[in-house]
Symmetry: C2
Subunit: 208 residues, 2 copies
């Protein structure tokens, strides 16, 4: 994916009263020492009522003849003014489980039909800065299904996503290369890649 025409033209401060998707909040809290202080943070305004999380990210590992590959996405992100490499992800709909959201988002963004295998605890993106969070859902993709060979993503009108996959084994080295090529790296993806690299570096063996 080339960045093409995509670029930021201008930025301006946004008052909460005009914001539709995000807001800035001041919290008054009591600290561990009993002293009352304030804290600033940012929030999404989209979390469904009753849901403890905003969205999901998807770990989809494809079993290829040449080894396991992980499904990733390239997407221009205006806050960074760069194309960012990320796990497939999306916001959860009202009354939707994490597993349903993961399967739906993966289908919409990549065309792959998958089944949820495991779901993580809630993970907070930047706990001092905002309350945004997600669950990480690991899915299985049956590559023998006809629909997984004839992919039909259903992107929204303003979504431009390039889907690709790389060897799970060398993901960290790819992250380093992608930055050198001018891409931005999502922290959840890069932290996952670093975990694999550290496990390999220290020869951490399989656990029962």
């Amino acid at each position: 994916m080339s960045q093409g025409k995509a670029r930021v033209i201008s930025t301006e401060l946004l008052p909460n009263s005009e914001a539709e998707w995000k807001r800035l909040v001041k919290t008054t809290y009591i600290g561990q020492d009993g002293v009352t202080r304030t804290w600033e943070h940012a929030e999404r305004t989209t979390r469904p009522e009753g849901s403890p999380f905003d969205g999901v990210s998807v770990v989809a590992i494809l079993e290829k003849d040449t080894g396991r590959e992980i499904l990733l996405e390239k997407q221009y992100r205006p806050p960074l003014d760069k194309i960012c490499i990320e796990l497939p992800a999306g916001l959860v709909d009202k009354e939707e489980t994490a597993e349903q959201a993961a399967v739906r988002e993966l289908k919409e963004e990549t065309g792959y039909v998958a089944q949820a295998l495991t779901t993580s605890p809630i993970m907070f993106n930047d706990p001092g800065f905002c309350n945004t969070n997600f669950k990480l859902v690991e899915v299985s993709v049956d590559m023998s299904l006809p629909e997984n060979q004839n992919l039909k993503p259903e992107l929204e009108e303003n979504e431009f996503i390039e889907v690709f996959h790389v060897k799970l084994d060398g993901l960290w080295d790819e992250c380093v290369r992608w930055e050198a090529q001018g891409y931005a790296l999502d922290a959840r993806l890069a932290s996952f890649a670093k975990g694999i690299q550290i496990a390999q570096k220290f020869g951490l063996v399989s656990r029962p």
Copy 2:
């Protein structure tokens, strides 16, 4: 660490004009299709001029007789109203390198004296929501140094951090347990743990 008295008393919308550390921004951008659109996002106001990143997180692995352990922190986070388990981390100072920031923050927050080993690409916490980012610095800690047995953290007046370490090998299982115990999980830490778990699950072998 017990949450003790720590709790949110109230929250209110915060106008940009009164915000000190964060701001809400509207970006006008051209998309890949050449169409002009707007995007909302949040930013830190603390990134030093000329620095492409906000801060650092630290992977500090302690070589213990009983196996490798990773250094972690518990900290009450007002945006979550929970104690969150995270890697040691902090904002970068003006004209400071990522390596200097990592060694300084680790010393201040945990007391450990360390040396930087490797530094990651820039990692973006939540690219659709905000532009906050960091570099992940892996450090070595010489446990034979006297200062690393007689730890002297230098916390600020409003910082309350409990330092602890757990086996690198079982980090993902610990993450699951921590949530069940009522702790919040940082996404960078949990993604790193998931990477280790996936490497173990698939028996990914050491790379040269």
